[in-house]
């Protein structure tokens, strides 16, 4: 592997988290009529979770393990 396998395990954990966040039943929690800054909740939730996952990926990849 290119580096420590700890990175790989973190990424797999992130994958599982993503599967959870982007699926029923968590998705159903946000399917209401609510708005955040005028943006529908479900739309806001998905994009927020999406960018959060990307940020975590970046953190995992770019972090320099000592």
């Amino acid at each position: 592997m290119i580096g420590p396998t700890l990175k790989g395990q973190r990424l797999v954990a992130l994958f599982l988290l993503g599967c959870l966040l982007f699926n029923f039943p968590l998705l159903a929690l946000f399917a209401g009529n609510a708005r955040i800054w005028g943006i529908p909740l479900i739309y806001f939730y998905i994009f927020a979770a999406w960018i959060a996952i990307i940020a975590l990926m970046a953190l995992i990849i770019e972090r320099k393990d000592r």
Binding site: M1, I2, K7, G8, L11, V12, L14, F15, G18, C19, F22, N23, F24, L27, A28, A31, G32, N33, R35, W37, G38, I39, P40, I42, Y43, I46, F47, W50, I51, I53, I54, M57, A58, I61, E62
Partner: protein, 916 residues
């Protein structure tokens, strides 16, 4: 309304620019200064995933299903997290085995099977060509939209194709792909210029889409909140926002996510850019998060554009798929519309170029070549140079794929079969997943399993997704859908076995995956894998362990000549490149020149992998086999090799252990050698000392004898004095010789011993009596401390007396001159009898305490000057004591005298020996 000429010129100028970029990229690559060798270009090239289906279609999908377009991008985001394991492994395997397409990958994994490679190619062509058609349609629709807006768009497909710009664009793309995709045959099949152009296209489409999005969201509306607030006021649109349309159907959502997860690694174009065109596997690192970021960026404005379009145009007047173009145009933003048009063009052309090259490689290597090589009457296997033929096949395949794509677009037009092809394509390539992913991680997968799984999944896909789409387009009787085949209700293609309530994609995905995975696993377990399957499985699954290049050759045994191999290689990639390849091989093996290359397993594997780059692994194997006399390995031999490999670790540990032991043994040997050298030196010393010691008395005997014989009239007093000296010296000489002989006997074990029960008190008395004269002369006080009862010891009485005499005379010699005192003590301890002889002389330094027991070693720096005695006494004494199982040693503090002690073991039951 824009001028048609402007749009045509613009689009051709854009494609021309791609030519320029690709040309520049290739030039730089030839000069060795690659412009694509960085993770950013790699990420942008991966973004070929976003086709016109993304650029135009996402908005269209969002307009009908709200957030339903998102799973297509969430899936790849999630998959990116697994790239660390999956994609990296695919890259490593492909580089090690020169794999150039997904068909080749699967064929190679299952024992280099022609049939499997061919099947994968057929599935890919059937699944992807309509997808290419969809891209051409998008180009065509965007053309007519630009030209005819604000009038309703008429399809250009109704035009004769010679008047259709799309046809010329398609041909231009074919020319581009041929020019930059098949410049030469290369074992790696990497195309730097092409990748540079694709990366550029990815920038263009992202910038164009975001520009339109920003314009709609902030130009036409007042930000996101405003778009959504206004949309919420329209009841039909509000439903899209809350319900989430397709998001309401979580099954569809989940199956689309899974589908796109598989598509991002299994689509031929993704395999091409992610695996084949990968320059350095480290680039994957950054792409893992940069690629999802790209997807995120290109999706932010999809919903605002869709909602904006729906609100801006009267319901149904404008196709939602064209909102990206029509919204700027309706606001008179001509340049923005042109930018969007170019963005859409770049999305479509990027996909078409990469997909075409990937398909043409597959068609050439896994479909056409195996068949041509099999046709004996073509005598291809004997032809001198096949590189031209190969390039010809590649180029023809490119043209054929594009003509097929255009033809399908031309014929299908607005048909359902074309519009819905995006997801149908995804489902087709998803059929590769079990064979592909299973093959990466499961060694048990066999050719039969992969073949059955793929075929079964493909047939289900054909029956439950592709044919129904034909039926919906009116090409097949619609009763096929409503009543099933020949009226069997259970066989209704989209409600197979009565399974209802799933959308067509989820339905097909479910059934095809069930039979695909089922057959793959079931038939893999049906029988033992063959040797070839087993060896390939190990090379693939354990690729991270087989790091060294050429490791595939472990499973090969046979013979070949270098000339044959070189000729073979030059037939496929041309003599020049073959020469280069051999030179590179020689360099990598540290061989000075091609002439010195020897034919071995590594070379054969190298040649095979070079040819595999040109014609696919299965054919390459056949070709190499034609010049190599190969002894096939039986399964048990392969197993043995694998066992060996797994034992290697254990061996290496044993080896480590052995080398440690060896080191210890070496150290011991070194020590022994040192002792031997020391002993040798001692022997030399001994001889020189003995001769020296012998010469001294001999010299004086001779000198005095000569005086006596030369002077017969010497006075009698003088004469008797000289005779006395001669006698004493003779005695000394005799004593010395006796001692040397004695020691030699003792050391060689040849001495006579007469053991008996000995009372040490008698021994002491004898010794003291023998030395009383000397003690008296020198005024030495002798104290003896003897217990009343003393056990007897088993020893040779004379020898023990000899020891006692030696120690006592030594004590007399070395004790203090003024107040001389020697004490002797006999002590009975538990198991030994100890004798202590203490003097009050100058003592012995710690360093000398061991030395004095060696032969001829005397403590020379004594106050009396010259040493006395032969220097053998203590050595002899120690030999004697050790013979009886005792110990002789000395304790001393310099200046206060020395204490010599020896012990003799007592018999176990000493009561019997107790002396009265």
């Amino acid at each position: 309304m824009l001028s048609g000429a402007l749009i045509v010129v613009l689009s051709f100028a854009y494609v021309g620019m791609l030519f320029a970029i690709a040309y520049y990229g290739d030039k730089r690559a030839d000069a060795g200064r690659s412009i694509i060798a960085n993770p950013y270009i790699y990420t942008l090239s991966l973004a070929v995933y976003c086709t016109s289906w993304t650029f135009y279609g996402s908005v269209g999908r969002a307009a009908t299903s709200g957030i339903g377009f998102l799973p297509i991008y969430l899936g790849p985001t999630l998959m990116a997290a697994l790239w660390w394991y999956v994609l990296l492994k695919m890259i490593r395997i492909s580089k090690a085995n020169r794999i150039t397409s997904i068909a080749d990958f699967i064929a190679s994994r299952y024992g280099k099977s022609h049939v499997l490679g061919g099947l994968v190619t057929i599935i890919a062509v059937l699944g992807i060509v309509p997808y290419i058609a969809l891209q051409l349609k998008a180009i065509s629709v965007s053309f007519s939209t630009m030209l005819q807006y604000p009038n309703a768009v008429a399809s250009t497909a109704s035009l004769p194709f010679l008047q259709d710009n799309t046809f010329y664009i398609a041909m231009l793309l074919a020319a581009f792909t041929i020019l930059f995709g098949t410049r030469h045959l290369d074992a790696t099949e990497r195309h730097e210029g092409l990748v540079a152009a694709i990366a550029f296209e990815s920038i263009v489409k992202l910038v164009a889409f975001i520009a339109v999005g920003v314009f709609v969201t902030y130009g036409m509306f007042d930000g996101f909140g405003d778009v959504f607030a206004k949309a919420a006021a329209v009841p039909e649109l509000n439903a899209l926002l809350i319900q989430g349309g397709a998001a309401g159907n979580y099954t569809t959502w989940a199956s689309l996510t899974v589908l796109s997860m598989l598509a991002i690694i299994l689509l031929p174009r993704q395999f091409q850019v992610a695996v084949v065109e990968n320059v350095n596997e480290r680039h994957l690192n950054k792409a893992i998060w940069l690629f999802p970021l790209y997807l995120f960026a290109i999706n932010i404005f999809v919903l605002p554009i869709a909602l904006g379009g729906l609100m801006h145009f009267p319901a149904g007047s404008v196709d939602a798929d064209t909102f990206v173009l029509t919204l700027p145009m309706s606001e008179q933003k001509t340049w923005l519309a042109l930018l969007a048009f170019v963005g859409g063009l770049s999305a479509a052309t990027g996909m078409v170029i990469v997909e075409t090259i990937a398909l043409s490689t597959m068609v050439c290597n896994d479909l056409v070549m195996p068949i041509l090589l099999r046709w004996k009457f073509l005598r291809l296997t004997e032809s001198r140079d096949l590189s031209g033929l190969l390039l010809g096949i590649r180029r023809s395949a490119i043209v054929v794929v594009l003509v097929l794509g255009y033809g399908y677009f031309y014929l299908a037009g607005e048909a359902y079969a074309l519009v819905s092809i995006g997801l149908i394509s995804f489902t087709a390539v998803a059929q590769f997943a079990p064979a592909m992913i299973g093959g990466l991680f499961w060694k048990g997968g066999t050719r039969l399993g992969a073949l059955c799984g793929l075929s079964a999944g493909f047939l289900v896909w054909l029956y439950s997704l592709l044919l129904p789409s034909f039926a919906k387009s009116g090409w097949l009787p619609i009763t096929f859908l409503t009543e099933g085949i020949m009226g069997f209700d259970l066989l209704k293609p989209q409600q197979l076995f009565g399974l209802d309530g799933l959308d067509d994609i989820s339905h097909c995905l479910f059934w095809s995956m069930i039979v695909n995975v089922g057959c793959y696993v079931g038939f893999s377990l049906w029988r033992q894998p063959t040797a070839a399957e087993h060896s390939q499985a190990n090379l693939f699954v354990d690729v991270f362990r087989h790091v060294a290049p050429g490791s595939g050759s472990r499973f090969w045994r046979g013979s070949a000549t270098v000339a044959d191999l070189q000729t073979l290689l030059s037939r496929f990639i041309g003599p020049e490149r073959a020469n280069e390849a051999f030179a590179a091989y020689a360099r990598s093996q540290g061989i000075p020149g091609i002439e010195q290359v020897t034919a071995n397993a590594v070379l054969v594997h190298y040649v095979e992998s070079q040819i595999a780059g040109a014609i696919g692994s299965a054919s390459a194997r056949d070709m190499v086999a034609s010049v190599v006399v190969e002894e096939p390995l039986a399964l048990d031999e392969v197993m043995a090799i694998i066992d060996e490999a797994s034992q290697a670790l254990a061996y290496s540990r044993q080896l480590e252990q052995k080398s440690r032991e060896l080191e210890a043994a070496t150290n011991e040997l070194r020590g022994a050698n040192q002792r031997l050298q020391e002993l040798d030196r001692l022997k030399d010393d001994f001889i020189s000392t003995v001769t020296h010691e012998l010469r001294t008395p001999l010299t004086s005997i001779r000198a005095f004898s000569e005086i006596l014989s030369d002077n017969p009239q010497l006075e009698s007093e003088q004469r008797s004095k000289f005779l006395g000296i001669i006698t004493r010296e003779s005695e000394r000489l005799t004593r010395l010789i006796n001692q040397v002989l004695d020691l030699a006997k003792l050391e060689s074990g040849a001495a006579d011993w007469h053991p008996s029960e000995v009372d040490m008190r008698e021994v002491l008395d004898d010794a003291v009596a023998a030395l009383s004269q000397i003690y008296k002369e020198r005024h030495i006080t002798l104290d003896t401390r003897v217990p009343e009862y003393l056990p007897l010891v088993m020893a040779d009485r004379d020898r023990i007396t000899q020891v006692m005499l030696n120690l006592l005379s030594n004590a007399a010699n070395f004790c203090d001159k003024e107040n001389s005192r020697v004490s002797v003590a006999l002590i009975a301890e538990f198991a030994v009898l100890r004798v202590e002889i203490t003097d009050n002389g100058i003592g012995i330094s710690a360093a000398d305490q061991t030395v004095i027991f060696e032969k001829f070693r005397q403590v020379s720096d004594m106050s009396s000057g010259k040493p006395r005695g032969s220097g053998l006494g203590l050595a002899i004494s120690r030999e004697i004591i050790q013979h009886f199982g005792g110990r002789l040693w000395v304790e001393s503090t310099p200046g206060t005298g020395a204490k010599f002690s020896f012990t003799l073991p007592l018999p176990r039951n000493n009561a019997n020996f107790l002396a009265a």
